[in-house]
């Protein structure tokens, strides 16, 4: 075995891959949320549709998007393989189990991750697939562009007027919050970054991040649903 294969298939190497892909996905979440928050601008989706066009046509974004697909798949496969190997290494279970010594999230990362993966599939079927591979979306004009673009905004509006789809999104985001509650700080420990000077800071940032980011995503379906139900008049 070459030294590199040996390194990447060692226990520490495999966790290094988990950590780096996990951190990349964390970065992606920030960018993704920043883009999505344009859905809350009250301009009939003009800025969001323009942004969606740019995200599907800019060559640099396309390269990053492929990196992103690859890292999600790598993270998911690697995570499941690690969980299976760890189950084998544990062998049998204790008759009495305790939650006194480790957080629930930390012990259920693979279940949480699998739920997130299921959610990502539903989510991509809803928007990404319809945007990229179908002509189901109407063409609209947006401010500052002299051509018509696909109206992803109306698709969002449609999706988030169905209560059970909104529920799926909220559950998916809660799952993500639990995954990040442990995952954020864990990825630094896997990288060997642990010091009494800054580890408490990383842990606090991780906890805030794991609540604020999923909450930021969740605001969008909540507001759209409330608007569709006419509980509030957000867009008019």
């Amino acid at each position: 075995m070459s030294w590199l294969t040996k390194f990447l298939t060692s226990s520490i190497g495999r966790k290094l891959i988990m950590s780096l892909t996990g951190l990349f996905l964390i970065l992606f979440l920030v960018v993704h949320l920043a883009g999505n928050l344009q859905l809350l601008i009250n301009d009939q989706g003009s800025s969001f549709n323009g942004y969606a066009y740019m995200m599907t046509h800019n060559p640099l974004i396309k390269v990053i998007a492929f990196g992103n697909y690859f890292f999600i798949i790598l993270h998911a496969i690697q995570g499941i393989m690690i969980a299976l190997a760890n189950r084998k290494a544990k062998g049998s279970k204790y008759a009495v189990s305790t939650n006194a010594t480790a957080s629930w999230s930390s012990k259920n990362m693979a279940i949480l991750g699998t739920l997130i993966l299921a959610f990502i599939c539903i989510h991509m079927g809803d928007f990404w697939y319809k945007m990229k591979f179908t002509d189901q979306l109407a063409m609209v004009s947006v401010d500052g562009m002299d051509m018509q673009v696909k109206d992803l905004y109306s698709q969002v509006k449609n999706t988030f007027s169905t209560w059970w789809l909104v529920l799926i999104y909220l559950v998916g985001l809660a799952t993500l919050a639990f995954h990040l509650w442990h995952g954020f700080q864990s990825s630094f420990q896997s990288l060997g970054i642990n010091h009494k000077k800054y580890t408490p800071f990383i842990q606090s940032v991780g906890k805030i991040f794991s609540i604020v980011i999923p909450l930021g995503f969740a605001i969008i379906p909540i507001i759209y649903f409330a608007d569709a139900m006419e509980w509030i008049n957000y867009f008019s």
């Binding site: 030294w3 040996k6 390194f7 060692s10 226990s11 520490i12 495999r14 966790k15 290094l16 690690i82 190997a85 760890n86 189950r87 084998k88 290494a89 544990k90 062998g91 049998s92 279970k93 204790y94 008759a95 009495v96 189990s97 305790t98 006194a100 010594t101 480790a102 957080s103 930390s106 012990k107 990362m109 442990h182 700080q185 864990s186 420990q189 896997s190 990288l191 060997g192 970054i193 642990n194 010091h195 009494k196 580890t199």
Partner: protein
Amino acid sequence: MNLTLKVWRQNNAQAKGQFETHQVVASEHMSFLEMLDVLNETLISEKKSPVVFAHDCREGICGTCNLVINGRAHGPQKGTTVCQLHMRAFKDGDTIVVEPWRAAAFPVIKDLMVDRSSLDKIIQAGGYISVNTGQAQDANDIPIGKDVASQAFDAATCIGCGACVAACPNGSAMLFTSAKVAHLGLLPQGEVEAEARVQSMVNQMDEEGFGMCSNTGACEAECPKEISISNIAMLNRQYMASVLGSKTGV
């Protein structure tokens, strides 16, 4: 105090084990192992086979005693080995469930005794210093900063009991291995071989079938010597540095 014990009985590694229930009358001044001695006296006088459990020093320094009590490695008391755990930690009328360490790398020998030689193999792979480092006065001649000496000493308190592996949901031996790598690598006598050591010990750890670290922190919570998981971060760091940029070409 009157206790109901549910004890794990298993004839060998291949056998399917099961719990056996016994009543024991104990005093709160007894250690947990003395309470098990009382149980065994009774079993022997009834011509039944005594419960096999491992023990040696009974003063918290050898790491031989290892029981999971009510789901907790070394029982409910923090920073304490089973032999140092006293029955006053329990109440009259309690039901106590006693199980062996569970991990694929720790096969059951009999009942509550497991084979922990997989930890010895990790030590044999590199947990030593190859040259004679002399006597205590030779070590005292080498100036070492107080912080480094303390850190190395904290890691050196690991008694190799395997509670970290037992407590870990993944059966990972990272806390043990990291304690040994830190204890030897932080001191000048051990630093010389640090790069090769970390690689061979991690390789052996993987070979023995221990799990990967999910950073759950269960090991640190159950370690009778309260070894910190910051040692695991140091192990990760040293392993990566050694593979990616060793000075010695290992």
